[in-house]
């Protein structure tokens, strides 16, 4: 394999990438429109910074609307699963309920526990909020939509930023001076740190196949319709997708992994003592996170903004991306309203005994696959899909047979 060494492991990564879209935007759009007297002396670097700040402002303003929608969606979906209607009072069919809740929360008293650590208490929600929104910077929403942080190490950046959230959680739990909060935050720390590993390893399978860390490159490599999506590229990425998905549920602390905020055990976990807008920040961050991990999942495994069929725009582009993401979000909700919660040691068992070994197996498998099929072609994808199909069918058959042998056990 000499050519691999000569090209470097990841030839697409270019750390000396000087140009970025903001500089281009300043050069191409802004400077030609300025008066000539100014244009010659206009500092491009400053313009770049200003443009970036402006874009960031748009994001920070627009993205919080997402949780507003998602919270309502969650409540409506939950209500449907439980034969209820959900919120119905504010606005038509209760569509303005989250807005009303938000307004209420803004006007609520912002209570700070007197014995708590005030600075950390005030800081914690902002850290979580900032981190969960910083993730959005690297998500490729669609073809032609500028990504504020279009790094060549996009997925690495996302992993790094989303790991910081755990710090905010611990700070919140510690500074609340409440034992329940402390328990919750420590659970959260253990959980998030553990589940980072299968998450990262699952991402690694993708990175190995695409040979790039950039989000745009990952999306670009899936441009051949549904069967070139990375989930179907190899049987191992198929498994990796599910590990990624379940781990990401654990990352965003949702049922069945909502131990940090288990309301029936430790009341509300790390945000027990928070009230008012600070609580709302946690809440918004949670739903933003949920959307973010779903979007990452779509980008990595489900083709990003690429359509189902090559050449057609069906389920492609920005709407397609959002639909796919919301599909994953719905799956999360569905799981949440179906499953009970794991216990702390079982959570760790699941991670360390099941997910991590399987993830390593995946990496090994993907590596071998990559050696066998140097380039993705019809053959490799066909074989992969065939293996997935046969695997699913045989699993279904085996499960059906084993369950037919042992019907619903009756203790009486």
């Amino acid at each position: 394999m000499p050519e691999i060494f000569s090209e470097g492991f990841f030839p697409n990564i270019n750390l000396q990438d000087e140009t970025n879209w903001a500089t281009d935007f300043v050069r191409d759009v802004i400077i030609p429109r300025l008066p000539e007297a100014v244009a010659g002396h206009f500092p491009v670097e400053l313009g770049t910074v200003l443009v970036m700040v402006a874009f960031a402002g748009i994001f920070v303003a627009v993205v919080p609307l997402l949780p507003l929608v998602l919270v309502l969606a969650e409540r409506k979906v939950a209500a449907r699963f439980q034969n209820r209607t959900g919120p119905m009072r504010v606005g038509p069919w209760g569509t303005l309920q989250t807005l009303a809740d938000g307004i209420k929360l803004i006007f609520k008293e912002d209570y700070i526990p007197p014995q708590g650590d005030k600075l950390l208490f005030l800081l914690a929600p902002y850290i979580i909020f900032a981190c969960s929104f910083a993730v959005f910077a690297a998500i490729p929403f669609g073809d032609g939509i500028p990504i504020p942080g279009d790094f060549n190490i996009g997925i690495f950046y996302i992993m790094a930023i989303s790991s910081v959230i755990v710090m905010g959680v611990i700070m919140a739990g510690w500074s609340s001076n409440s034992k329940w909060s402390l328990l919750g935050s420590l659970r959260s720390a253990a959980q998030i740190v553990s589940y980072e590993i299968p998450l990262g390893l699952s991402i690694l399978t993708v990175v190995m196949l695409v040979e790039s860390l950039g989000m745009q490159q990952i999306v670009a490599s899936q441009d051949g319709g549904i069967f070139t999506w990375l989930i179907f590229r190899t049987p191992f990425t198929f498994i990796a997708f599910f590990i990624f998905f379940i781990s990401s549920i654990a990352e965003v602390n949702r049922t069945p992994f909502d131990l940090p905020e288990a309301e029936s055990e430790i009341v509300a976990g790390f945000h027990t003592e928070y009230s008012g807008m600070r609580f709302a920040l946690f809440f918004i961050a949670e739903y933003a996170n949920m959307f973010a991990v779903s979007a990452i999942g779509v980008t990595l495994f489900l083709g990003g903004w690429q359509g189902v069929l090559p050449g057609y725009d069906f389920l492609g582009g920005f709407p397609g991306f959002v639909i796919k993401t919301l599909g994953l979000v719905f799956l999360m909700m569905w799981l949440r309203w179906t499953l009970p919660r794991l216990r702390v040691d079982q959570l760790m068992n699941l991670c360390w005994k099941y997910f991590i070994p399987i993830s390593f197996f995946n990496i090994l498998g993907t590596g071998v696959w990559g050696l066998i099929f140097r380039h993705d072609d019809v053959w490799s994808i066909g074989i992969s899909c065939a293996i997935i199909y046969v695997g699913l069918i045989s699993a279904y058959a085996v499960a059906g047979r084993s369950l037919a042998r042992k019907p619903e056990p009756q203790p009486s």
């Binding site: 055990e265 309203w337 179906t338 919660r341 216990r343 203790p411 009486s412």
Partner: protein, 401 residues
């Protein structure tokens, strides 16, 4: 120099020491089923000791009863176990009736129709109670949806109760010597037929639902992981702690007052008593949380069976109330126990021949079962405490009385 060496060697000898943390769980806590307060001594997530403190819902039932006549006490028994109030009414009425029957001069018997109505309504009430237990247990383990399904079905039962006794929760339906006639149901009338049809509709609707709930929660692997093998209460321990009802049967003791000491007309019905068994391929151990829970799920099916038998027989004709001039039991004392949904509900009545009891003690099943919590929870995790409380299915109104 010596001392430092000593301490160093000690540090090596000692296990890594962690501080114990005392946490107050309740009385306001989402999953303590009311106002139970637990003083948890935690080592991280592991519970060293869970000390229950009760009495937050103490409403002086026994003191009240000493100043009330027997019929007046019945509404108070509703407030003991408000989830299964019919059975509480019945337990008390049975005790008073038995004490009155000891008086040879008075000759009275509860009419046949009343007995059938009592069994019918109490078995429906048992279903309602177990449904609530199922729902809240799902909630305790983190699944919210079973709770709503359980309440959806329980609502239909409550509507039935409302039709027959005029109240949804505190029924005051079963009276000494019969059942209440607030809502008069003429034997063989259209009202009666409608009511029985509605009961039948409910049973037809409900019976497949039990399997659905088993699919949703009972067989779920996360749920079984959470509950199987957790807090195993051996049969000896259960007997010693006075655990009764589903908790005792969950510990593998084949004991049901309805079958073994049949009161009322339970000897006429054919039903089975579900008892927990070891299921090695699933991991269930007799006496664990899952067994106790599963016994309840199976009991619902048996209750459905009993009610179906009543529907097949039809309600007999006749009055629903014995001809009682006044409720004035003879001098003496009685302890009578009946099988309430939560276990053996006993009433100890000391009468001095006046219309008011001298002493009335309600021996509530939850009170005894809850006392086992401290021993059961030792060395388990915080999440397991919730699982135990849910599995022994306490109602604080009954514990504190």
């Amino acid at each position: 120099m010596e001392t430092t060496q000593q301490t160093e060697s000690k540090i090596i000898e000692l296990k890594p020491f962690t501080d114990e943390m005392v946490v107050n769980m309740g009385p306001q806590h989402p999953s303590t089923h009311g106002v139970l307060r637990l003083e948890l001594i935690l080592d991280g997530e592991v519970v060293r000791e869970a000390i229950p403190h009760i009495g937050y819902l103490h409403r002086c039932f026994e003191k009240h009863s000493e100043n009330l006549s027997y019929p007046q006490i019945i509404p108070f028994t509703d407030r003991m176990d408000y989830v299964a109030a019919m059975n509480q009414n019945w337990g008390f009425c049975l005790a008073v009736e038995k004490l009155m029957a000891a008086d040879e001069k008075k000759d009275f018997a509860v009419p046949e129709r009343a007995e059938y109505l009592r069994v019918l309504i109490c078995e429906l009430n048992r279903i309602a109670s177990h449904l609530l237990s199922f729902g809240t247990y799902g909630m305790d383990t983190g699944a919210v949806t079973p709770f709503f399904y359980a309440f959806r079905d329980r609502e239909r039962l409550l509507l039935l109760f409302e039709k027959i006794c005029g109240a949804r929760l505190t029924y005051n339906y079963i009276r000494i010597g019969g059942v209440s006639e607030i809502i008069h149901m003429e034997p063989g009338s259209l009202d009666e037929q409608n009511f029985l049809d509605e009961v039948k509709d409910f049973l037809d609707y409900f019976e497949p639902k039990i399997d659905e709930y088993n699919d949703l929660l009972t067989s779920n692997s996360i749920f079984s992981e959470r509950t199987m093998g957790v807090a195993v209460m051996s049969a000896e321990m259960a007997l010693s702690y006075g655990a009764t009802g589903p908790n005792l049967r969950g510990s593998g003791v084949d004991w049901d007052l309805r079958r073994d000491e049949p009161y009322s007309i339970y000897d006429r019905f054919d039903f089975e008593v579900p008892v927990a068994k070891d299921i090695p391929e699933l991991g269930a151990v007799v006496g664990d949380c899952w067994s106790r829970y599963k016994v309840r799920m199976d009991e619902m099916k048996e209750s459905v069976r009993i009610v179906r038998q009543i529907l097949a027989e039809g309600l007999p004709d006749g009055p629903v109330m014995a001809d009682l001039k006044a409720v004035r039991p003879p001098k003496g004392e009685i302890y009578f126990r009946s099988e309430a949904p939560r276990g053996e509900l006993g009433f100890y009545i000391v009468s001095d021949g006046t219309p008011k009891p001298v002493r009335l003690k309600g021996r509530s099943p939850c009170f005894s079962a809850l006392s086992a919590l401290q021993e059961l929870s030792r060395g388990l995790m915080v999440a397991d405490i919730i699982a135990i409380i849910g599995s022994i299915d306490i109602v604080m109104g009954e514990v504190d009385r």
